[in-house]
Amino acid sequence: MTREEIRSAVLEALAAVAPEADPASLDASAPLREQLDLDSMDFLNFVIGIHERTGAEIPEADYAKLASLEHAVAYVEARCAGGG
C-alpha cells in the first residue's frame, strides 16, 4: 500500500466511528481521542477498522502509537513495509 492509500484507509476507519468529523479540519499531529471525543470503544473500533482495511496486525501494546492521524499512518506504513 502507498502512503496515500494508507492515509485514506485510516481516514475511512475514523469516519466509521466519528462520521461528523471533517478530515480537512483535523489536526494531524494532535491526539484523535481528545479532538474527536472518542471513548475506548470508539478507539478499539478505529483500530479494528484500520486492521480490516490494511491487514496490519496491531498488538494492544501498540495502540498508543496510533494516537494521532500522522502517527497512525506512519505506524501502519512501517507495519506494512515490515511484512505485517
Binding site: V17, A18, D37, D39, S40, M41, L44, N45, H51, E60
Partner: protein
C-alpha cells in the same frame, strides 16, 4: 397525564420512536422512518427527561460507593488480549458488565422491576448498558440474559450495541427491557458517578474511570489501578446492607477475572 403520554407526544412530534431504553416499553413499537438527526436528538432528550423526572419523583434512591482494586483484572485482560485476534479483544467494560451480571446471583433483589407496589425479581439478567451518543444524549439497550454469556460474548454484543446505538440502528426489542443497568463513564470520565435509576428497574451500577491510586495493603501503600464503583438502588426494593453486599460481590468477581 402519564409518562407514556409525554413520551408518545415527544415521539409524535419528533416523528420517530422514542429511542431510549429508559423510555417505556409501550412507546417503542413505532418504526423509525429515518428521522433527521436533530429530531432524533430531540426525541432522545425528551425521553430522558420523562424517565428521569419519573425516577426522581417516584424512586427513593440510596447510594453506596466503593473502590475496587483492578490489578488482577487488568493483568488478566492484558494477557488475554495479547493472545486474542484484534476483533475479539476485550475492553475492561466487558469485565465490569460480566462481574455485575454474576453478582446478581448473590443479591437477586437488585435485578428486576418495581411493579404495583412490589419488587418483581427477574431470573434473567437483562443488563442495560448506558451508551452515550456523539453530540449528547444516551440510550440504554440491553444485553439479554447476560448471566449466561461469557465475557467474550458480552464484549461482542457490547461492541455491536454501541456501534448501532451511535449509528441509530437499534431494534425496538433491545429497548426498555433491561432488569438492571450499568453506566460506565470510561477512561475519559470522572472518578465515580451516582446514577439515576431507570424506572421501573430498581438499581443502577456506576463505574468511573480506572486510574492508578495509592492503595494500602498489608501495612504498605502501593500504586494500583482502581475503579470507583457505585450502586444507586431503590429503597422500596432493598436496603443498604444488601446493597453493600452486592458491591462486595462485584468486587469479589473482579478479583478472579479468570472465572468471569
Amino acid at each position: 397525564m402519564t409518562r407514556e403520554d409525554v413520551e408518545r407526544a415527544a415521539a409524535a412530534r419528533a416523528g420517530t420512536a422514542v429511542p431510549a431504553g429508559i423510555a417505556a416499553p409501550a412507546a417503542t413499537a413505532v418504526p423509525a422512518a429515518a428521522p433527521a438527526a436533530g429530531d432524533r436528538r430531540l426525541a432522545i432528550r425528551r425521553a430522558i427527561a420523562a424517565a428521569m423526572e419519573r425516577a426522581n419523583r417516584e424512586i427513593p434512591h440510596y447510594y453506596l460507593a466503593t473502590s475496587i482494586d483492578m490489578s488482577q483484572a487488568l493483568a488478566w485482560l492484558e494477557a488475554e488480549n495479547a493472545r486474542r485476534p484484534l476483533p475479539e479483544r476485550l475492553l475492561v467494560a466487558a469485565l465490569l458488565l460480566r462481574a455485575v451480571a454474576l453478582a446478581v446471583a448473590d443479591v437477586p433483589e437488585m435485578n428486576g422491576t418495581w411493579e404495583g407496589g412490589a419488587l418483581r425479581a427477574s431470573a434473567e439478567v437483562h443488563l442495560g448498558v448506558a451508551v452515550s451518543l456523539r453530540g449528547g444524549g444516551l440510550v440504554a439497550p440491553a444485553i439479554r440474559s447476560a448471566q449466561a454469556k461469557d465475557v467474550g460474548v458480552i464484549m461482542r454484543e457490547l461492541r455491536d450495541l454501541v456501534r448501532r446505538a451511535r449509528a441509530s440502528g437499534l431494534r425496538s426489542s433491545e429497548m426498555g427491557t433491561a432488569t438492571l443497568t450499568v453506566t460506565n463513564l470510561g477512561d475519559a470520565g470522572a472518578d465515580a458517578l451516582f446514577g439515576v435509576i431507570h424506572p421501573p428497574q430498581v438499581a443502577l451500577v456506576g463505574f468511573g474511570r480506572v486510574a492508578e491510586r495509592p492503595w494500602a495493603t498489608r501495612g504498605r501503600v502501593e500504586a494500583r489501578p482502581v475503579v470507583g464503583a457505585s450502586l444507586s438502588a431503590d429503597h422500596r426494593a432493598s436496603d443498604g446492607h444488601r446493597g453493600a453486599l452486592f458491591l462486595a460481590a462485584i468486587d469479589r468477581r473482579l478479583q478472579r477475572p479468570e472465572a468471569l
